[in-house]
């Protein structure tokens, strides 16, 4: 027998934009008239690709268009894509909270979908009652929950509060309880949204570990959607990249390929400050941009990639005291470090100086940065000063900090040593 447990064929989903009102009523009537005459839906041919920031000509968009893939037993599939790429729509259809416009999905076995944890929790009910309630919403029978009860309680660590209404719980306890139920579903296919973004770090680890266990030991199939590339990287065995409602041409492939493709696709802004056509006299920057080591200009880097800052300076008013200063700032515009270099070393007669400054890999921690650049004559004047330019981001593709995603762990990876003190 084949090991395919999920088969997705030609799934598309169309949404109507705008208000529900007389306009949508008119469309509904038209659709109904066509149906009576035995014709196809008149709006199924309409609609365009779902590109958020483009003004649309049609009231209809395709949030998903012709999605096809299959999943084997035991596979962990990561679904990545930009906001609005259709990830959530796909999850909703898979978890049956909304239907597709065309196509079909076939699945084998028992399915649990976690678009949210703690669905149906009621503040007035006790922890124990909520475990039963939540479990049964997710499709467990009562006796199955009873069998798992001790495990869930232990996982959540709420023994003492089991008969207290959950509204008295701390938010952490509440979430742990909700996760506890979710983590113990005995389903063959598990569909998980970004719920893992909440909960504390230790718990996240526990939960990711639990998911991995689930697929390795029990042959469970997992579909996982997340913005957390590190988690996708650690967890998934394969991936797909959604782009404006369609699957990227790579199709279903290894996680490494997908993350690579995602990072490439998510670079709409190649960071260039080009001032060649502005009439500036005196010493000034004429071109600034960022690239990786392969010479690709971009603004999103992986944390373990070197970042090259290309600086082109025009120095008609040269003197030997001129300095170049670059200050890197974090997302709150707090300075991280500053570079000062005397320009006399690099100056050549044709008055254009081109420099490359390389920030080593695994130096800055994942996050958003921008910079301030300046040509100055120390103690006398600033010739050219540009603030908050060349914004770039470092993506976490599996650093040691990846499991503390939402914590502020500073802006640099420290090079430290640690020894045992035996005295």
């Amino acid at each position: 027998m084949s090991n395919t447990v999920v088969k997705i064929e030609n799934i598309s989903k169309q949404y109507r934009l705008g208000d529900v009102g007389s306009g949508s009523m008119r469309d509904d009537f038209k659709r109904f008239r066509y149906k009576l005459m035995g014709k196809d839906d008149p709006f199924a041919r309409l609609g365009e690709e779902n590109i958020r920031n483009k003004q649309s000509n049609s009231d209809y968009v395709w949030a998903l268009k012709d999605i096809n893939f299959e999943l084997e037993k035991g596979e962990i599939l990561g679904i990545v894509g930009n906001n609005g790429a259709g990830k959530s729509t796909l999850l909703k259809i898979l978890s049956r909270t909304t239907g597709p416009t065309t196509g079909s999905i076939k699945m084998k076995g028992r399915i649990a979908s976690l678009l949210e944890v703690g669905t149906g929790f009621h503040g007035e009910l006790s922890g124990r009652e909520n475990i039963y309630l939540n479990g049964s919403i997710l499709g467990l029978r009562k006796y199955e929950i009873t069998k798992k009860l001790d495990e869930i309680i232990e996982f959540a660590g709420v023994e003492r509060y089991l008969d207290t209404p959950v509204k008295r719980y701390s938010s952490g306890m509440y979430i742990r309880l909700a996760f506890g139920v979710a983590a113990h579903l005995d389903s063959d296919i598990l569909i998980v949204d970004e719920v893992l973004a909440v909960g504390d770090a230790e718990f996240q680890k526990k939960c990711l570990g639990k998911m991995k266990d689930a697929s390795h030991k029990e042959g469970r199939t997992v579909l996982f959607v997340s913005h957390n590339l590190a988690a996708v990287n650690q967890l998934c065995t394969s991936g797909i990249l959604l782009n404006n409602g369609t699957i990227n041409s790579l199709g279903k492939t290894s996680v490494a390929n997908i993350i690579d493709a995602y990072l490439k696709s998510s670079q709409p802004s190649i960071c260039i400050v080009d001032r060649s056509d502005t009439a500036i006299h005196g010493n000034h920057f004429s071109l600034l941009r960022l690239s990786d080591n392969n010479g690709n200009f971009k603004s999103d880097f992986q944390f373990d990639q070197e970042i090259n800052i290309h600086v082109k300076i025009n120095l008609p008013d040269y003197n030997e005291y001129l300095e170049l200063a670059i200050r890197i700032e974090d997302k709150n515009r707090v300075p991280v470090f500053t570079i000062h270099e005397s320009l006399c070393k690099f100056y050549d007669e044709n008055s254009f100086t081109s420099l490359i400054i390389t920030i080593p890999k695994k130096f800055l921690t994942p996050g958003f940065y921008s910079m301030v650049v300046c040509i100055n004559y120390p103690g006398v004047t600033n010739y050219d000063l540009l603030e908050n330019i060349l914004p770039f981001s470092l993506l976490d593709t599996g650093s040691e900090f990846s499991r503390y995603e939402n914590l502020n762990y500073g802006s640099v990876f420290a090079q430290y040593s640690i020894t045992k003190n035996d005295q």
Binding site: M1, S2, K7, Y15, V20, S24, M25, D28, K92, I93, L94, S95, R96, T97, T98, G99, P100, T101, T102, G103, S104, I105, K106, M107, K108, G109, I111, S113, L115, E116, T119, G120, H122, E124, L125, E129, Y132, L133, S136, I137, L138, G139, R141, K142, P165, G219
Partner: protein
């Protein structure tokens, strides 16, 4: 461990089969049904001192107001039944119908939050609400019974009464629940996209109460009005409910049959519409 069955057990398609009511799936989720009843019930009365006693208090006040308004001021006949009992029974049965209808008609809009996150048979929610309504009815009815017995033993009230006619009580409840539920899910299915009907239903329910012999007996209605009133399928179950308790009330077997047929039509249409709406209602709710 591996199942040897080579068939897909879940197939997701753009449309539901309208006549496939998925009763087996509903049966699989029966635990959820009871847990949800408990959730609704407990949730409503936690942290109130009187708890379910509130089910007593509101009908008592309504009954007293009705006695004053319809009994003392309008002087409507109660067919010789003590005023308190007559109005109290009417309120209990009407609240039951109204509750069944109200919870079913809000099935999609009230539960949109949960429906948007997890799939389970959507019918569970209105069914659970109906059971909660039934529990409330029994509490209110027990108050009625207490006063009923008090009137019989201490005030010398003698209802005309036969054991067999008591069977009309569950029959009435069944038909009223069916009509309320069926009509309710029709409304809830239609209102997922266009909300206009909710406005109509709001005051329509109030008017419907006056078109049903709740605060009066059918016997006092003039024949030229009665012929129209009898189109209301609620007339027979409400009248037979009173007949079972007090031995007064007018209804015929044909009228009962008419109500039962109406109930089945409502339920059938309701289930079809509900089935059609549940697939994509999250997109428009």
């Amino acid at each position: 461990m591996q199942s040897t069955v080579e068939e897909w057990n879940i197939i997701i398609k753009p449309k539901n089969n309208l006549l496939d009511f998925k009763l087996k799936e509903l049966h699989n989720y029966r635990d959820l049904l009871w847990l949800w009843v408990r959730r609704e019930y407990v949730g409503a009365y936690k942290q109130t001192l009187l708890g379910p006693l509130w089910h007593f208090i509101s009908p008592i006040f309504s009954t007293l107001i009705y006695m004053l308004l319809y009994g003392k001021i309008a002087k409507l006949s109660t067919d010789g039944v003590p005023m308190f009992l007559f109005y109290n029974a009417g309120i209990a049965i009407w609240n039951f119908f109204n509750g069944c209808f109200g919870s079913a008609s809000g099935a999609f809009t009230n539960n949109a939050g949960i429906f948007g996150k997890v799939y389970f048979p959507r019918l569970i929610m209105p069914l659970a609400s109906m059971i909660t309504t039934l529990i409330k009815f029994f509490i209110q009815f027990s108050l009625f019974l207490l006063i009923y017995l008090y009137m019989i033993f201490f005030k010398g009230y003698q209802p005309i009464f036969s054991i067999w006619s008591l069977l009309y009580i569950p029959l009435s409840l069944f038909i009223l629940a069916g009509i309320g539920f069926g009509f309710g899910i029709i409304v809830s299915s239609i209102t997922t996209k266009y909300r206009d009907l909710t406005q109509l239903v709001g005051f329509g329910m109030q008017l419907l109460m006056f078109a049903t012999p709740v605060i009066y007996g059918l016997s006092i209605v003039p024949p030229e009005i009665k012929q129209y009133l009898l189109f209301n399928p609620l007339v027979a179950p409400v009248e037979s409910f009173k007949y079972a308790l007090f031995g007064v009330g007018e209804f015929t077997l044909n009228l009962q049959l008419y109500s039962a047929v109406c109930m089945m039509i409502f339920l059938f249409i309701g289930l079809i519409l509900f089935n059609n709406a549940e697939k994509n209602f999250m997109d428009s709710v």
